[in-house]
């Protein structure tokens, strides 16, 4: 229970760039437990800067700190890779007929983190909506020489582009979710994810 509270405190600190309450980490916490929980919630990158702000006696042992650093270095490598791929992906999707691809979740949300490179992202999520989805998807399959065209499962289809896993979303959320069955939510998504409310992102193709 204490490890969960400590993880929450570190998460708050990591997300809001604040200093964690040192009292929660005195006596020295069980770092294995905290880091295990953080790994399960893909929060290692978020809490790493918060850990650095703790008093020295509350910080993890050197070996643990170095292992954590090595793990978040991987986050940074993924971030660089995804940023490099994103520009090419958007151009590719446009060439396949997707007029306004919308970047969702991981890489998109990471821009709101104090350090975007620490947001753990396994894939790139792009929403193109229902309109012409099948035509665009067929064109993607043709261009990338798919042997067969996988069907939409839940809200998206998966494919690989430049060695990166892509989730191409037909729907913003799963059809079986309570949210998707809410008419208000669907209308809100359609309004927010299309038309004038979209903000054009400049992608630095490094």
């Amino acid at each position: 229970m204490k490890a969960k509270l400590q993880l929450l405190e570190l998460t708050r600190s990591g997300l809001w760039n604040s200093t964690p309450n040192p009292d929660l980490f005195d006596p020295a916490p069980n770092w294995n437990e905290i880091l295990y929980l953080a790994k399960q919630q893909t929060l290692l990158g978020v809490i790493a800067p918060a850990i650095e702000k703790l008093p020295p006696k509350a910080q993890p042992p050197r070996a643990t700190a170095l292992r954590l650093h090595q793990r978040i270095t991987l986050n940074r490598q993924f971030y660089t890779l995804h940023s490099e791929v994103l520009g090419k992906l958007i151009e590719f999707l446009k060439s396949c007929g997707a007029q306004k691809p919308v970047l969702l979740k991981g890489l998109g949300i990471s821009q709101n983190y104090p350090d975007p490179t620490l947001r753990q992202c396994g894939d790139i999520d792009i929403y193109i909506g229902e309109e012409n989805f099948e035509t665009i998807w067929a064109k993607i399959g043709e261009e990338l020489n798919f042997k067969f065209l996988p069907k939409v499962v839940h809200h998206h289809v998966d494919f690989h582009f430049l060695d990166t896993e892509i989730e191409l979303h037909k729907y913003p959320t799963t059809k079986t979710s309570v949210a998707f069955n809410s008419t208000k939510f669907i209308e809100w998504c359609k309004e927010e994810l299309s038309g004038d409310k979209l903000v054009e992102l400049k992608v630095e193709d490094t």
């Binding site: 993890p60 050197r62 170095l66 650093h69 270095t73 490598q77 660089t80 490099e84 490179t117």
Partner: protein, 88 residues
């Protein structure tokens, strides 16, 4: 010489650590700890062209040591960086 792009110096658990953060370093799974003077030099020359004389000059300026001793230390530091592949 120049530092290889993608290697970053960060403070981890009170130590200055260099790790490869770009996609070019996916196979570089080592962490390199730098002592204070080497970390200082790295911060000064990162992403610039430099020579052993540049490093020696920085050491003289920062620590007021003899130029000959500074050059000896600078050479050792540059050699170790080249050896691990963080400088070319």
């Amino acid at each position: 010489m120049k530092t290889v792009e993608g290697f970053k110096l960060r403070k981890v658990a009170g130590e200055m650590i260099i790790s490869g953060e770009s996609t070019a370093q996916v196979n570089f799974n080592k962490l390199r700890a730098l002592h204070d003077s080497a970390a200082y030099l790295w911060q000064q020359i990162e992403n610039t062209d430099f020579s052993v004389d540049t490093l020696a000059g920085l050491l003289v300026e920062k620590y007021s040591i003899e130029p000959s001793l500074a050059k000896e230390d600078a050479q050792k530091i540059a050699d170790s960086w080249i050896e691990v592949g963080i400088v070319r």
